[in-house]
Symmetry: C3
Subunit: 309 residues, 3 copies
């Protein structure tokens, strides 16, 4: 029996290097199957989704992943606006959806929601983003993209730039990177530095440098992971515009980077990466989307098949 | 040819005991099939849904039922908010969806809507709740749950508690129970008693006792069917709180009931059943959800296969 | 290799008579297949839709077409109200959906949107309505309906009545008809005449008569294509009511037409065709819906299969 069978996927912290590498191997395998072989993996199985916080992007990634392995999806894409919202508890809604499906995908605003929901669900639960820090399938997608595009993760010099304070993606990614021997540069304005209370654990595992200056690091980076800076985070617009401008990734910046450095982004991208970068060989953020579908397909397949696939 | 083939399912009143028992037998059969056998029943068939009154719960029950027998679903989950709503008539919308599908599932606020829609639809129509009284598939789900969990329906003592005035579920259930030899206790505040104009027919078939006092009946009941009491139904809040409090099903109440009594609820449940009841062997409201999926799968299967399944 | 394989469908202007006839032949073929043969055509393939302008009708037509040939659909039915709308560009959203699917279906308010989107999409793109003039699949559906019901298109006398100024359907239909030898009467109030700047091209290919008087043409028409007149288009209500009244198709009007004339309408119909017409042998607007599903299935099938089907 495979170790992931019928297991919940709640936190990236539950994945050590060995587990991550197994998922990467399975993702490679799934990418090599032809479509009809691939559709046998979860043929006729049903994914039930429950999004308390709407996320079209994540939902479609799971939906397409499930379709690509022969399954189908149903559920509630926006609980707040659905008729479910008549005061029913999270527990009851989770129980209902878990009856209708083989695996449950939950997105929720609160920390701990997935752990709680997994306990009341009869079926394995996958956390599709919860609270301030957890987005395990995004982290797996990001790590797989690095591995696939750079042929390794150990030894990489990785810059993460933008809003590091808000945005669960960064926290999950850092916890995932904690399993590897990497050199991480956290680049952000002072006011959007990573929350120190959340990174105590990460700092014990990971070589982290914090800075506001992206310029000094550019020529050393193998990977530049860009995140969005939201205007709403700034008390005044002038400050926002100054910060935003200094971190925009364009061809100029690219020139100062290694020839084979890759640019990643969890998307949606607004203007923190210029469109002119899209057609360079360094731009891998759409590859990242594709790998996200494949890693999710691998996770669903391994969760729903006793003997793997 | 099976008698349900290509027939509409409009009203629970069209189901006599013999028909109900046939559906129960088919539901038992469908529950024993393995997933791949099951998916042959409506392989490649399409269910078209049309919800003029949104109901995520009922829609997902049909959707998952159809998926479990190999079919797919499409349609409009909220006509009011859809672009269909450009003044198009019910008849035209029904005709359109019926062209795209093999069976039509309609939810509508008005009495008689399903009968009307069935006449203009080329395809068999299933009423998923209409007007004040009709919700035939919910009644079949509820009856099957009693049969399955109590091994019989005849002879049962059944309490129905809560808001009996509004809520079509109760009316449909009573009409369904009219086919059996049961003893029914209707327990509600004065102001939420069942509408006497609607129950003339039911009273001729069914042994009904009306009361406001749940306590006197508890020790006799085999089934307690709980419904939600909505605050909006009460002119003042004090009255509401008094009523609500007296009907909450908790462990205390359970202790005064038969050891093997079962608690049902059409869901969503707010707080008329305490969470502490959920893990008792008496709580069958989530089983009821599961049986709802299976009874709907049986109904869809028998409607769409000339020689049954 | 078939000439439509992996090709975008952007404009009806890209379809000459030969291409249209090929699609019609394929539509005839698809209609003769039994359901399980039909489901082999796009088995396991995924249609990704992206509707910047909601259109339940068009979306369901594509969805059911894809289901009927064995594929599935996913996407965003209303971009404006989806979480995608965080300022992401059309290009990025198109790239994302194209990664998740084998063919992309786009509806957009702007002229040129489809051409632009097709350039950034990795997968073939089908325009499901854009800007003021383009709705190629609707035109193909309309032309196929004429061909199927009248056994030919060349030689037909076709009246198009209603709002000819707004509504992209009419423009696309006229461009499609430009490939045939037909006699077209454009019947509308003065203020809703077809835009002359848009019809320069059409007028070189097509014998067009413009009139406000429907009566004079009725007895000659083989096809009467009715479109909706929207109240909002008129500066004052009196004018609207006068115009509306004079173009309503009822049994009276039908009596003055050829016995075998057919009435078409892109739907939704409000009251420009009386319900009494629905059951006459002349009413073909629901047949038109059905043919729309089949023509779209043929288009999807031929786009996604190298050697056709």
């Amino acid at each position: 029996m495979n170790e992931f069978y019928q297991k919940d996927i709640i936190s990236i912290k539950d994945f050590d290097k060995e587990k991550l590498e197994k998922i990467f191997t399975l993702t490679e395998k799934i990418m090599q199957l032809n479509p009809s072989e691939r559709r046998e993996i979860c043929k006729g199985k049903t994914l039930g989704y429950l999004f308390y916080e709407p996320s079209t992007r994540t939902r479609l990634s799971f939906d397409s992943a499930m379709a690509s392995i022969g399954g189908n999806s149903l559920g509630i894409s926006n609980v707040a606006s659905s008729s479910t919202q008549k005061g029913e508890s999270l527990a009851d809604t989770v129980r209902m959806i878990s009856i209708y499906s083989d695996v449950l995908v939950l997105r929720h605003t609160l920390d701990g929601s997935s752990r709680f929901a997994a306990e009341v669900s009869d079926k394995p639960l996958i956390n599709a983003g919860s609270g301030t820090e957890e987005h395990p399938t995004q982290a797996i997608q990001d790590l797989f993209t690095m591995k696939k595009e750079k042929k390794k993760i150990d030894g990489l010099k990785i810059g993460i730039v933008g809003d590091l304070k808000y945005g669960r993606t960064v926290y999950s990614l850092l916890h995932g990177l904690g399993n590897y021997d990497v050199d991480v540069r956290l680049i952000s304005p002072e006011s959007l530095r990573i929350r120190s209370d959340s990174t105590y654990e990460i700092k014990q595992k990971l070589d982290l440098t914090e800075t506001t200056n992206i310029e000094e690091h550019l020529d050393e980076l193998d990977v530049l992971y860009v995140t969005r800076i939201q205007k709403e985070r700034f008390p005044d617009e002038e400050e926002y515009l100054k910060v935003k401008g200094s971190y925009v990734v364009g061809l100029d910046m690219l020139k100062r980077m290694k020839d084979d450095a890759i640019i990643l982004h969890p998307l949606p991208r607004i203007d923190e990466i210029s469109a002119e970068v899209d057609n360079t060989k360094n731009a891998k953020y759409f590859k990242q989307v594709e790998y996200g579908m494949h890693t999710r397909a691998a996770l669903l397949g391994v969760t729903l098949n006793e003997n793997g696939f």
